[in-house]
């Protein structure tokens, strides 16, 4: 297994060096924290970039890591950088992601501090991204979680990030969640 302590140390160093203002791990790693082990190929690190940045650019992060000797990942992970054999992808997101970063939980992994999206945000972001694998992760988390899902908190997040006047034919996050719940109820 790769040395995760070093991977997380490199991520935490980005904050210490001012290259990111705040970060949180999302995707399958966060889903795994709250549920059973979920297959993934890379580590998704969502970032708040320093507010003085005029352009949203992740280049300084990748440059810093390249200077430490890490190389871009190859093949299907070409948009990631390989840190200690783990393809790590740095991402910036929308208002929902920003809120998920702000409300992340702090966990300890092999003696290194890591910030991870909280459960309700893992679900909301997966619903927002909406690929087949994200919906599959939602299904997994609805069946098995380490703590109960705070339904009130989840709905409040979904409503907050659903536009009051969606475009014609657009399904808001809340609509999508209601449809998903209906489909699950119908299947049981």
């Amino acid at each position: 297994m790769p040395n995760l302590q070093i991977v997380l140390r490199r991520v935490n160093e980005l904050r210490e060096k001012g290259l990111v203002e705040q970060y949180a791990i999302g995707g399958a790693w966060a889903a795994t924290y709250f549920s059973e082990p979920i297959l993934t190929e890379d580590l998704d690190v969502f970032c708040h970039l320093p507010s003085q940045s005029l352009l949203i650019s992740l280049s300084p992060i990748y440059e810093h890591l390249k200077n430490l000797g890490y190389q871009p990942a190859d093949g299907t992970h070409a948009d990631s950088i390989q840190i200690e054999d783990v393809p790590v992808q740095f991402l910036v997101g929308n208002a929902l992601i920003d809120e998920a970063i702000e409300n992340a939980v702090e966990v300890d992994l092999m003696g290194e501090r890591a910030r991870i999206f909280d459960l309700e945000y893992v679900l909301a972001v997966a619903l927002d991204v909406g690929r087949a694998k994200d919906l599959s992760r939602i299904d997994t988390m609805l069946q098995v979680t380490t703590r109960p899902i705070d339904q009130e908190r989840l709905r409040s997040i979904l409503v907050k990030h659903s536009p009051a006047k969606p475009k014609l034919g657009e399904k808001t996050l809340f609509d999508r969640w209601m449809r998903l719940e209906e489909a699950r109820d119908g299947g049981h």
Binding site: M1, P2, L4, A28, W29, T32, Y33, P37, L39, V144
Partner: protein, 55 residues
């Protein structure tokens, strides 16, 4: 003791769910280790030849 197909199926699903809950209850480090094992299994399958390699 389960008798009907429905009862047997229910028992099997409950056992599967119990296994999954036990996996979820593992420490995060152990879950990550198993996640890497899943990756290795997928990679091994992806790289395996369809027919046996020539000796």
């Amino acid at each position: 003791m389960a008798d009907t197909k429905q009862e047997l199926l229910k028992e099997a699903l409950e056992a599967k769910l119990a296994t999954r809950r036990a996996l979820a209850a593992l420490p995060f480090e152990e879950k990550i280790r198993r996640m890497f094992q899943l990756q290795a299994n997928v990679r091994a399958f992806r790289n395996a030849p369809i027919v046996p390699r020539k000796p």
